[in-house]
Amino acid sequence: MTDKKRKTIKWAEEPKIGFAEAIYLPAIVEGLKTTLRHAFEPRKTKQYPEEKPDLPLNYRGLHRLNRDDEGRVKCVACYLCQTACPANCITIVAAQPPSDDPHWAGRDKFPASFEIDELRCIYCGMCEEACPVDAIELTSIYDLTGMSRDEMIFDKEKLLSVFDKTVGGDKDPIRTHHGALGPASEIDLRTAQVAPPPPGHGRPG
């Protein structure tokens, strides 16, 4: 045994049993005092369905797919979130919008289908971090239920409806709340002028 080892070993001594410990009563009185004190302390219970928790804005709950100013899905089907997802629960099918459709003016790619398996998701937020245009975000909706597994696979419409439901509320995810979005989402897609973001206007951090 080396000197160093000998010094780091700590020998635990059994506590000494004296008169007070041998008659048990002081310990019992001490314990009863603790239990009685707790009996009269204020309750810590939250009456859940009536009393909702106050969640922080960066809570990672159900996803939403953001819309741009024209109400189109903001996602540009770049597959970054699908690639980043550690749980493999995002499935995207990209498509090219018809070039003569004024609705899709300035967009050359959009997700034809966008599915997230909410049962597989581990709510890590990697998709949100990966997205270059801030199209996907995690909201603070946590009470997610469904009657079947299929129902828990959220498609594009469902994810967009989550956006419609949550946008503008006081529980908007923190980044949209602050209005400071990622640099790529500031690009005016119609003129496709790639300009560097103004200094200090990027994503905080």
């Binding site: 000998r6 020998w11 041998a22 314990g31 204020p42 219970t45």
Partner: protein, 390 residues
């Protein structure tokens, strides 16, 4: 016996048989509430006002549950064991008064007791309530499962050990009041609060309460069902209504024990200022019954609080407490009472004697701990280090 003589008996039986299982059922609710109280929670509060119907919901749920009988079990005993336990603990209640029962009460009026005037009441009670160990032992053995068996064996050892101080501790009171009937013992405490047995027999009260707690298998003495070591102990294989019967038996036992503590040591239905009822169902009889029930409820609450206060004993500590602590103390206490009574001394001599015995017991125990720990054997490695071997 004519019908007129029989009706008080039948009424008392009906009341006890209706009330006691209900109390057992509600004990689970109260236990959960007390647990919540101690742990800063609210406890069950969803079913009915204040959650009061929770016990009923639980009962309905558990009756509808599947009952599994393991293939390797001894079927007949497996089925009957919970019943035996429950019957034994219900039988014990027959001699426990649940309201005022004056010793000189005539037959043919309602009495708060199934079998009044049993001269060997306490003896019967001790004998029958220790029968409830059969339910546990048979259940554990018939399950044919090693954890159940260990639980049953532990329970067996525990019952045998704690029966002794349980019986010994109340002999002093029996010797003083000169009767084994519970009404008689309560009658001997009727003269006022200072005549309650706890004042001159505090040591007996502590020993009785501790051993009774061990007999009910409740924490800190719930070794037979200790989850960490034995899965569920003797009831590992039980499910559904059979499981409930075991727990009904346990809670009935708790209620009986609380009644006994209140009756034997806390003056029963007597309280200063409340007149002792002479006969039958009168206002003062009901008041006395309420006093007894309140005393019992306080003891029950204390038992429930203890559960959340004390950690479980180790098995050798459990045995040591009974054989090295409680039994010698109970013996010495009994000896003291007998000497004082036969020399015609005042029973108040027993108060300092009890305290002295308790202190002496604690001192002896501390001394034995010290002895056991004194010649600290050198730990092998330090020993070798000192000799420069390692």
């Amino acid at each position: 016996m004519s019908m007129a003589d029989l009706w008080p008996l039948l009424t008392a039986i009906a009341i006890v048989m209706m009330i006691v299982p209900t109390i057992g059922l509600y004990m689970t609710f109260v236990e959960r509430k007390v647990a919540a109280l101690v742990q800063d929670r609210l406890g069950p509060n969803r079913v009915g006002p204040l959650g009061l119907f929770q016990a009923i919901a639980d009962a309905i749920k558990i009756m509808l549950k599947e009952q599994v009988t393991p293939a390797q079990a001894q079927k007949v005993l497996f089925m009957t064991a919970p019943g035996i336990g429950l019957v034994a603990s219900l039988m014990a209640i027959a001699v426990v008064p649940f309201g005022p029962v004056p010793t000189d009460q005539p037959a043919g009026v309602f009495r708060f007791m199934i079998a009044p005037g049993v001269d060997i009441g306490l003896l019967f009670l001790l004998a029958v309530s220790s029968l409830s160990a059969y339910g546990i032992i048979l259940g554990g053995w018939a399950s044919n499962n090693k954890y159940s068996m260990y639980g049953a064996i532990r329970s067996c050892a525990q019952f045998i050990s704690y029966e002794v101080p349980l019986g010994l501790s109340i002999l002093g009171i029996v010797a003083y009041s000169g009767t084994l009937s519970i009404e008689g013992i309560v009658a001997s405490q009727s003269a006022g609060i200072l005549h309650w047995n706890i004042w001159w027999q505090p040591l007996a009260a502590i020993i009785f309460f501790t051993s009774a707690l061990a007999e009910t298998n409740r924490l800190p003495f719930d070794l037979p069902e200790c989850e960490q070591e034995l899965v569920g102990g003797f009831h590992t294989e039980y499910s559904g209504i059979k499981f409930v019967l075991f727990f009904l038996a346990e809670y009935t036992h708790v209620v009986t024990v609380s009644f006994l503590v209140a009756l034997l040591f806390l003056g029963g239905w007597h309280f200063p200022g409340v007149p002792s009822p002479a006969v039958g169902l009168t206002g003062s009889a009901i008041l006395s019954m309420l006093i007894l029930v309140i005393k019992v409820m306080m003891v029950v609450f204390f038992i429930l609080m203890l559960r959340w206060t004390l950690p479980r004993f180790r098995f050798d500590q459990l045995m040591g407490l009974a054989w090295k602590g409680l039994i010698p103390l109970a013996m010495a206490n009994l000896l003291g009472v007998v000497i004082v009574l036969s020399l015609g001394g005042s029973r108040w001599i027993m108060l300092p004697v009890s305290i002295a015995l308790f202190v002496a017991g604690g001192y002896a125990s501390a001394l034995s701990f010290e002895r056991a720990g004194r010649p600290v054997p050198p730990r092998p490695s330090t020993h070798l280090i000192k000799q420069g071997v390692a």
